[in-house]
């Protein structure tokens, strides 16, 4: 098998060369750097070779060992899955699927060390990704000159080294969903929502995340709180804050609690929304009366402290721990996660005061996560499907809107869910008759090179496979793209050769592209 593309690259030749040069410089003589870069740039299509890679792995390994000590010790006792299956499980759940070479890399590093490293994203160099994002052209629809946040989100999911952070960003942007179509200013609020509100807190503390969301113009606008005042109470945000963001609908609150939260939030507003302004507290709009929330008395005569205390109460409420734990377990483990795991996860949430790194560690190192029942049990969301396909082919991030448009066509546009509950975490909702056709068609399009960034030419394995016998091609595709998970029946279908009766219109896929198209459209690729 060919080695994968260097994990630290996003495939922009110049950037890659620069990053590669930096890595080399620490290990090699300057002359070697020059030679390396020259060779590398000359043979732009060929992936970087072992030298700097191994060095990087050595450093990563030491760092991973260090961060591992920040978490409670775990053993793999009780895990049903083989080591190789564990590797695939973490790459499918805590990342958006493996890129070529990822499986070998995680196996070398060790699954638990890889998880610990991913839970410490600041320690992972993502400079090439940041440089790529910085070069995405500004979106003409944004008055603030920012790039389209949908493009940024998809690109980072495809190519960021901080994969678990990106998974968590996707999770939280769905949990704290906002709708791009809400009205004119929303488009201006979205880049900061993704970049400054969700991303920095995605693996931080829940209370900080909740507070950042509560002060974000995007949420204040989406759920109408920016206009809510003592003489014009608007319950919208107050209700969804309880029902969808913290306690959950069965979390034990009443209509009176909804009103108390809405009153506490009066005055939390947006400074000059038409100009895309930031958070502002407007004391004159604030209801200063006494409030009672879930048995807590909030004294009269206060200002912004009212809702800060409300957020404290909600973030530490046991219902919130349970609700967030359940949703995270649904995302990472299965549509019906074992109650014992949800309970342990909620306990970690409470014990650590909502430290999301520790919460996610509890889930990702649990026997339930590495169980037969959970293995390949999740259906990929449209976002996961598209991103994982581009990654499987070793593809590049897309600086245009087209990848985001493909995801939208599959039924779940990024920032495109109108209602505040977000897209469902459970796969049965995604599997409709029409949806599966769109997925099959996506697989065909990707294999035919019609999806930006995902081209068979980028797939390292393709170079030697193009001329290989069909059986070898199928073996490679099943191993690399389907994680070895093809049923004997599926494998037989992939093996079936060209058909002389093929009279369909258009240009039929042939050879390797045909096999890859079948694999991406197969039921096995719909799962993670």
């Amino acid at each position: 098998m060919m080695r994968g593309r260097d994990a630290g690259t996003v495939g922009v030749g110049r950037l890659v060369a620069a990053a590669c040069a930096r890595a080399c410089a620490r290990a090699c003589a300057a002359v070697w750097v020059a030679v390396w870069v020259a060779v590398w740039v000359a043979a732009c299509a060929s992936p970087p070779r072992a030298g700097p890679r191994e060095e990087a792995t050595g450093r990563a390994s030491a760092r991973a060992e260090r961060v591992l000590r920040e978490f409670p010790a775990v053993s793999d006792f009780g895990r049903d899955l083989t080591t190789d299956q564990q590797v695939l499980q973490v790459l499918d759940r805590a990342a958006f699927g493996p890129r070529p070479g990822d499986v070998a890399r995680v196996r070398r590093l060790g699954v638990d060390r890889w998880i610990a490293e991913q839970l410490t994203p600041d320690g992972i160099d993502d400079g090439a990704m940041d440089a790529f994002v910085a070069r995405i052209p500004p979106d003409t629809a944004q008055s603030n000159g920012a790039a389209d946040p949908r493009v940024v989100k998809v690109a980072r999911a495809v190519a960021s080294e901080r994969q678990l952070q990106e998974v968590m960003v996707d999770f939280w942007e769905n949990h704290f969903t906002v709708y791009a179509g809400k009205g004119r200013p929303m488009r201006d609020f979205l880049p900061a929502y993704d970049r400054d509100v969700i991303r920095p807190h995605a693996l931080g503390h829940f209370r900080d995340l909740l507070g950042a969301v509560a002060k974000s113009p995007a949420m204040l606008f989406y759920l109408d709180n920016w206009r809510s005042g003592v003489r014009g109470l608007n319950e919208n945000y107050g209700r969804e804050l309880l029902e969808l963001h913290t306690l959950g609908v069965d979390g034990g609150y009443t209509q009176a609690d909804v009103i108390a939260v809405a009153r506490a939030l009066t005055g939390w507003s947006i400074d000059r929304p038409a100009q895309g302004g930031g958070f502002i507290f407007r004391p004159r709009l604030h209801d200063t009366g006494e409030k009672v929330l879930l048995g807590h008395h909030l004294a009269a005569g206060r200002g912004i402290a009212d809702a800060e205390e409300v957020l404290d109460i909600l973030a530490r409420h046991p219902s919130t721990a349970r609700f967030v734990a359940l949703k995270l377990c649904e995302r990472f483990v299965s549509d019906t996660p074992p109650p014992a795991l949800v309970a342990r996860t909620a306990a970690t949430f409470t014990r650590t005061d909502g430290d999301l790194r520790q919460v996610v560690w509890t889930i990702l190192t649990s026997p339930e996560f590495f169980s037969r029942a959970a293995y390949r049990a999740k259906v990929k969301s449209p976002f996961e499907l598209v991103v994982s396909a581009v990654r499987a082919l070793g593809g590049q991030p897309d600086s245009t809107r087209r990848s985001a448009q493909v995801i939208a066509r599959l039924g779940e546009p990024v920032f495109g869910h109108q209602a505040p509950n977000g897209y469902p975490e459970t796969g049965t909702s995604w599997m409709s008759t029409g949806a599966i056709l769109a997925r099959i068609n996506f697989g065909q399009a990707a294999a035919a090179g019609r999806i930006p960034g995902a081209s068979l030419d980028d797939w390292p394995a393709a170079r030697i496979l193009r001329t290989a016998p069909r059986a070898a091609q199928v073996d490679s595709v099943v191993g690399e793209i389907l994680g070895g998970a093809a049923s004997p029946d599926s494998r037989a279908i992939l093996l079936s050769g060209g058909n002389p009766l093929d009279t369909g219109g258009g240009t039929p896929l042939r050879g390797l592209a045909q096999i890859v198209g079948l694999a991406l459209g197969a039921p096995e690729f719909q799962r993670r």
Binding site: N234, R239, A419, T428, M431, T433, G434, L437, N441
Partner: protein
């Protein structure tokens, strides 16, 4: 997902891995147009987000209505001909929002009935719980696994037919949701189709590749991914044969997504693909801020809604004799306007029922009044009719369905409305 496996098992047993094109083609023919019949059709339209019933079917005879809505009330009907700015009077007490003018002729011809103060016995003001209850048909019971439309389909033939007849005798298009995902109301054991657009409903690959793709989903695995895929291929073949898009609409539909979906429902009906239940939904009703009055945000939503439905009725023409359309929304909105020229979540709402066999031209249901002591929890329009009463009558009187106790467990209507 046992049902899919069960219903499809006949075909699954036949189509194995041989990949012989001729063999596959035989299956194709077997699945061709199941005995097309012109049966009854029920079209369900969900207004997601809680539509403001009091500004849609306006109780202009209530002074309390005007007192509670100083800036957003729809003005009393103008004397003489209805003007664009005021309520369109129906019976001296209720009237339609002026943006609903396209529906007035249907009311006058007695094809449109209105049920007011209708809703759920559940007191929830959560959009998602209330939608869930309206779609499961079991208020306050969250564990119900299926939707009531699917229970109708299951009770009324699909599974029974599957047991005795070849699966191909049940049209894959018996129940269709024009939506990207299967809605809760259609979830359950009976097969259904969900699609956002007829145009997208095809496999874009060449002949033998399509056969291989299909075979991948027919490899006997019983999970939802395989089963859904297998159903899809069958439906694609049938749709290609029926070619609903050959039916050019007789009228122009609104260009909105809602209008386009209604047009496609009409095409499916005209193509005789065996459609019995159609569903689509339309959002934008959650008007917390600046909902407007005779014009504005809600008026624009209503204009699209009314134009779409009026176009559908005109387009279907004679076929409307067999068609009923029902509209629903998870709850109504507060009787009082809020401080932002909008309305917060409320309780009872209003439903429209249209069709050839509908006894239209009147507003059904007991009006509870809008005085403070008459309001639900002192703030919302009270509910006097259970939404299941409306659904039950459509199932039993329009579709001719039995098994109401299985479709709406625990519900028995105290009195018949007499809508159909």
């Amino acid at each position: 997902m046992e049902r899919r496996v069960f219903v499809r098992s006949g075909a699954l047993a036949l189509v194995t891995l041989g990949l012989s094109p001729r063999f596959l083609r035989r299956v194709v023919f077997a699945a061709d147009l199941p005995a097309a019949r012109r049966g009854k059709v029920l079209i369900c339209l969900f207004q997601r987000g809680a539509a403001d019933a009091l500004n849609i079917v306006v109780p202009h005879g209530e002074s309390a209505y005007y007192a509670m809505r100083p800036t957003i009330a729809i003005p009393r009907p103008a004397r003489g001909t209805p003007s664009g700015a005021g309520t369109i009077d129906l019976d001296g007490f209720f009237g339609l929002h002026p943006a609903l003018a396209p529906l007035l002729p249907l009311y006058a011809q007695r094809h449109l009935a209105i049920v007011h103060a209708v809703g759920s016995p559940s007191a929830t003001r959560s959009h998602f719980d209330a939608q869930d209850y309206m779609e499961s048909g079991t208020p306050d019971a969250k564990a119900t696994p299926d939707g009531w439309l699917n229970r109708y389909l299951a009770a009324q033939g699909t599974c029974e037919a599957g047991r005795t007849r070849a699966p191909s005798t049940v049209s894959p298009f018996r129940a269709v949701a024009l939506a990207p995902e299967t809605p809760r109301i259609l979830e359950g054991p009976a097969p259904t189709v969900a699609m956002s657009d007829l145009q997208e409903f095809s496999v874009r690959a060449t002949g033998s590749q399509v056969e291989r793709l299909e075979a991948l989903y027919r490899t006997g695995s019983a999970d939802i991914v395989h089963a859904t895929g297998a159903e899809s291929f069958e439906a694609v073949r049938m749709l290609r044969a029926a070619n609903p898009q050959q039916y050019v609409p007789a009228v122009e539909y609104p260009r909105s997504p809602f209008g386009q979906r209604l047009q496609q429902i009409a095409q499916l009906i005209k193509a005789d693909v065996g459609l019995e239940i159609a569903f689509t939904d339309v959002g934008g009703w959650d008007t917390h801020v600046n909902q407007g009055a005779a014009t504005g945000q809600l008026a624009e939503r209503l204009a699209d809604f009314a134009r779409g439905i009026a176009a559908l009725v005109t387009d279907l023409g004679d076929r409307m004799a067999d068609v009923a359309i029902v509209t629903m929304s998870e709850f109504g909105r507060m009787a009082r306007e809020n401080g932002n020229g909008g309305t917060d979540h409320g309780h009872a709402g209003a439903m429209f029922v249209l069709g050839g066999d509908v006894r239209g031209g009147r507003v059904y249901g007991r009006w509870p009044g809008l005085q403070p002591e008459q309001l639900f929890e002192g703030r919302d329009l009270a509910r006097t009719t259970d939404f299941r009463a409306v659904f039950s009558e459509l199932v039993s009187q329009h579709l001719g369905g039995a098994h109401l106790d299985a479709i709406f467990p625990g519900f028995s209507a105290t009195e018949r409305l007499g809508l159909v």
